[in-house]
Amino acid sequence: MHSDARPPLALTLAAIGGLLFLHMPIVLIFLYAFTTEDRSYQFPPPGLTTEWFAVAWNRADIWPPLYLSLRVAALSSGLALVLGTLCAAAMARARFFGRDTISLLVVLPIALPGIITGMSLRSAFAIGDIPFSTFTIVLGHATFCIVIVYNNAVARFRRLGASMLEASADLGANSFQTFRHVILPNLGSALLAGGMLAFALSFDEVIVTTFTAGQQSTLPIWMLNELVRPRQRPVTNVVAIVVFVATFLPILAAYYLTRGAEETAGGGK
């Protein structure tokens, strides 16, 4: 549906109002990182300063959670890249019995609320007597990241079609050479986009993580603790900006990598 008529004024205002509603709160996070008031959320801020960036840099308790988050996000998106691509390749190749069940199975970890994934893993760890570790966090994250990579890869496989692969085989390439020289270059940007979205999703995840981390602290868990028991409030804002940028940049990059394709990255969180 598209029309070239001018939209009614009330509709334009409501639509722009809706977009502003979605963006204004995030602007405030940036403003409060510069406030001189560190005991309350007073508005307007009594004064502005940049000292909190230095304070945050020197806070020793921020760095270990940051490293843990980076490690978990890298491992999970790596695992999800392999598993999601394999699954997409199989689904693009053939129609077979149980195909719909498999696509449901891939989507389920993100379709059901995080608390169910989290509590399920927690139950399994309790039954299996598995101690909490980086591995248990990655187990949860990789599971819900698979669908992100899968969505991006499967759309690209569909566009690639069978004729290119047949041409490659006719020219004497075996399956592995076809994968290396035909499939991978065509899939590259979709996989990069999917991997970055998966990284962003994992880096920011908190609900599943609280069930699988035990005593460990990722950056979102650190933030959650500061929200419940605030110490230096503007420092939390500085960290919030870091988390925001670390998720914002991959998403923007993924959008530009897959723009114009039939399926733009990010449509199916």
Binding site: H2, L11, L22, F43, P113, L121, T143, P220, F248, K269
Partner: protein, 311 residues
């Protein structure tokens, strides 16, 4: 090239031949790792959740008794626990209804009037809040709704301070400040899940053929009549698809009511506190099964209404 057909030059070629003769073998090999992962880690865990929910806890020792019983599910029905379920479902329904109202103008404008540069602005404008950090968004609302925050400041600035106080004085939904009231919890839920409603709604609106709008106008219908009799019914599958997200996500969230809200529990908070400090994993598991059961009923109804064609 030495022969008429390609001779096998190494293991890679021999495997290629095998895959060519048995295409199902390659499909199976490709599927094996992801299915193994999802089957063991995810389905295995869901089964563990179900199993745990049929266990019970020994009142005296506090240890989990691994015997099959329905005792834990019966505990869900005692008034204090049942209130938690009712409160959560009521909140999920309110958030879903409000997000339909708020999402419609944005989705409708993006589908019908936005083009070129504005199309991209709307796409990114919805996508970025959807993907940007969940915790950062919740935190932003803690700043906004705080007693000394921007809402109070703005309300006093335009002389509506008394109105704000009157709203906060309302029974049940009011509170000490917006950030400790149900109104606050509702606003944050609405904000965080709104993009999940806009996107499927926009997708279904974009599929409404322009010719149908013209036909409606030719038959003498005004704008409102066309909206009510043509556009809204055709957009319904998208609305239902979006409501699946907003409803399910609200049912399962525990961070938002913990950061912004009164001290009364939602399902998610009950699950989290029961599995943690209380150590009552069976009851936590039984609580976690509730959103699954509610969503299964919801999905069955949605499927009957054709919502899945729009996903």
């Amino acid at each position: 090239m030495s022969g008429a057909a390609h001779p096998a030059r190494g293991p890679g070629d021999r495997l290629t031949g095998l895959f060519w003769r048995r295409p199902k073998l390659l499909t199976a090999l490709l599927l094996l790792p992801p299915l193994l992962w999802l089957g063991v880690v995810y389905i295995g865990s869901l089964v563990a959740l179900l199993v745990q929910s049929f266990y019970s806890i020994d009142q005296f020792s506090g240890l989990v008794v691994p015997d099959f019983t329905l005792k834990t599910y019966a505990e869900l029905l005692i008034p204090s626990n049942f209130d938690i379920i009712v409160r959560t479902v009521a909140m999920a329904a309110a958030v879903t209804l409000a997000s339909v109202v708020l999402a419609f103008p944005v989705a409708y404008f993006a589908a019908r009037y936005a083009k070129g540069r504005w199309k991209a602005v709307f796409y990114l404008g919805i996508m970025l809040p959807l993907w940007s950090s969940y915790l950062v968004k919740v935190y932003a609302w803690k700043l906004i709704l705080a007693k000394e925050g921007i809402v109070t400041w703005a309300a006093e600035g335009i002389g509506a301070g008394n109105l704000l106080n009157a709203v906060l004085a309302l029974p049940v939904i009011g509170g000490n400040s917006l950030s400790t009231s149900y109104i606050g919890t509702f606003l944050v839920f609405l904000y965080v899940w709104l993009p999940y409603m806009i996107l499927p709604m926009q997708a279904s609106l974009e599929r409404v053929p322009t010719s149908m709008l013209e036909a409606s106008a030719d038959l003498g219908a005004g704008n409102w009549r066309t909206l009510r009799s043509v556009i809204l019914p055709l957009a319904l599958p998208g609305v239902i698809a979006g409501s699946i997200f907003t409803f399910s996500l609200t049912l399962g969230d525990y961070i938002i009511p913990q950061i912004v809200g009164s001290s009364r529990f939602f399902i998610g908070q009950a699950v989290y506190s029961l599995q943690g400090t209380a150590g009552n994993i069976p009851l936590a598991a039984a609580f976690a099964v509730v959103p699954i059961a509610i969503m299964l009923v919801y999905l069955t109804i949605a499927r009957k209404m054709g919502a899945f064609d729009a996903l």
